[in-house]
Symmetry: C2
Subunit: 348 residues, 2 copies
């Protein structure tokens, strides 16, 4: 059985992941100076008269994620190759985006009752839910302070609109908890809120800081959104992958939490009546029997739902790549295209 | 035994409350038109494509609080008696403040595991903690959208700084959970975050919308902060009051949650060694014995901690009243002074 999209080149499975990580690393190298400034600013802005805030903020933000959003902001700033605008600062806005991201992670882990993230205990496991909720609020507030300091009314509008989309997406997701009949478009709205909207915003504020014209800004918005959709679709497919070595994600987590993602939406829609009964039974108690996850995966394989999730991801990836066509060739543009291409192939 | 501050006029106890409610009602009448516009806007902005958000938002915001913050914004707008500024709108900013307030209530109720508020079930009781956290995030995001639409960089700075102060205050409060040795100044920082900072912001955005000069803005900031401190001090004293009819607040809640407020800080500091042992025993398990609350109250009475809390409140009230002295006499100014005066006497 083969999880890889028919469109993918034939590359040994383990190399796909390496290729994506390499693309991230290469971009990080290109943006090295900016990323250092962003890290310094983040560190400064975690300073608070309340020691607990500093402690948790640092635990969370400095725990070594891939820093995908700052990489996007910085790359989109440099892809324009313009003289920077004086009243807007991509370093500050990138830190603002990263604080929003950190705040949503804290709240998500409370909502999902998660115990670990990237192999470390979650903040709610270490300090409890109350603290996570309130420190999340702090990070969110700090983010708006940063936006106000380093941005303009235009970037503030983009960032505050995005915050609304993120929280709407999250409520929409829990509203559809265990709802096997969730519409695919509703699912797209959820993952747009969860991932694509902030990716898009990271790109837009980079572009605006770099003096993007209207059409360039639209292109960066489209690039960020579609890359985000690609990324999340593959993430959701990875949850049903058979390989445990998938960038810190615990296989089967979504299933155990009763989260409805595209592989399940497709599998349920394609199932016969008896199989539908199985889904309805297991989705309400996914942890009752360890074998349930394996049976679910069998149906997902039977109906080619991983392949088709990758096909959807490929669609968004194509749109993302095409959206960059208005920019002149540069090392940043090429590296971003490589990032998208390899992200579709993260699944192993 | 008499809980009333020695400075209070001699008025029958039940009249004190009536007097404060009347002061609120009178101001609401003066600001009636604006308050209607604010309500309409709030209602509009609770609109979301996600039905659950609408439902909870309306449950929470339209459940009939006193609307103290919109009253403050509107009164401070009108006290200036200026031509309104064209690029800033006190109706929109007032709605933004009310959304921040609603978001913090949702998160507070999750953090405090509260079951009812103003005689209604809390949202976390009805819809669960997850939903409350995420809908709180939505309201907070919506608030920033409103600020961006109706405000300026100056009002955005004030509002985002306030959000940071609010969340820092909340983390500071839970960091000092059951800490009987909490410093009185730390307590002031907590209640500044919890209440005074948003009162102050409500006043400042009203002033800025009304074209306040620098000294007028400072005066309104001081008025809001000091009125907020007064209000919260009296609220904290009410928790140890013997009267159950205290504006929807359940007597003894702070004690049961192990929250350290001024009456306890003062009582603990003044207690002898044996009494200190009692405090240390009960604060870790305040619900173990129903009699503990009564014993705690006895010590609070013995050491005149309610009277002294009211004396502190009186200090802030005096500063609040004096800060209004730079404004010309008007019905708004007189009504605000009445509001402060009667707020000190809420305790019955």
């Amino acid at each position: 059985m083969n999880y890889i999209s028919p469109m993918a080149e034939i590359i040994p499975i383990h190399e796909h992941k390496v290729v994506f990580n390499d693309a991230v690393k290469y971009l990080s190298e290109l943006c090295k100076e900016d990323l250092q400034s962003i890290n310094t600013l983040i560190f400064e802005k975690l300073d608070s008269s309340v020691p607990l805030i500093q402690e948790i903020g640092k635990y969370l933000i400095l725990s070594g994620g891939k820093r995908l959003r700052p990489i996007l902001t910085t790359s989109c700033f440099h892809i324009l190759n313009n003289k920077p605008k004086h009243n807007i600062n991509h370093i500050g806005l990138s830190a603002a985006v990263e604080f929003i991201h950190a705040a949503t992670l804290l709240h998500d882990d409370v909502v999902d009752i998660s115990k670990d993230r990237r192999g470390k205990l979650t903040a709610n496991e270490v300090w409890g839910n109350k603290t996570s909720v309130l420190v999340g609020d702090f990070l969110f507030s700090r983010s708006f302070q940063l936006m106000t300091k380093y941005g303009t009314m235009e970037t503030l509008k983009i960032l505050s609109d995005t915050s609304v989309i993120i929280s709407e997406g999250e409520v929409l997701e829990i509203s559809n908890d265990k709802n096997l009949e969730m519409n695919e478009d509703t699912y797209f709205q959820v993952i747009n809120g969860k991932t694509a909207s902030l990716f898009s915003t990271a790109c837009q504020v980079g572009g605006l800081s770099g003096g993007a014209k209207d059409n360039e800004l639209l292109a960066l918005k489209s690039f960020g959104t579609n890359f985000g959709m690609t990324f999340q679709l593959i993430d959701d497919a990875i949850d049903y992958s058979s390989n445990l070595n998938t960038m810190g994600k615990n296989i089967g987590d979504d299933f155990k939490e009763g989260k409805i993602t595209l592989p399940i939406i497709l599998a349920y829609g394609r199932s016969n009546d008896k199989e539908k009964q199985f889904w309805q039974k297991v989705i309400s108690k996914p942890n009752e029997n360890v074998n349930n996850f394996n049976l679910a995966k069998e149906l997902i394989i039977k109906y080619k739902c991983i392949e088709d999730t990758v096909v959807r991801a490929r669609h968004f990836a194509d749109v993302a790549i095409d959206s960059l066509s208005i920019f002149n060739d540069s090392k940043y543009k090429n590296a971003l295209i490589k990032l998208i291409e390899t992200s579709v192939k993260r699944l192993s």
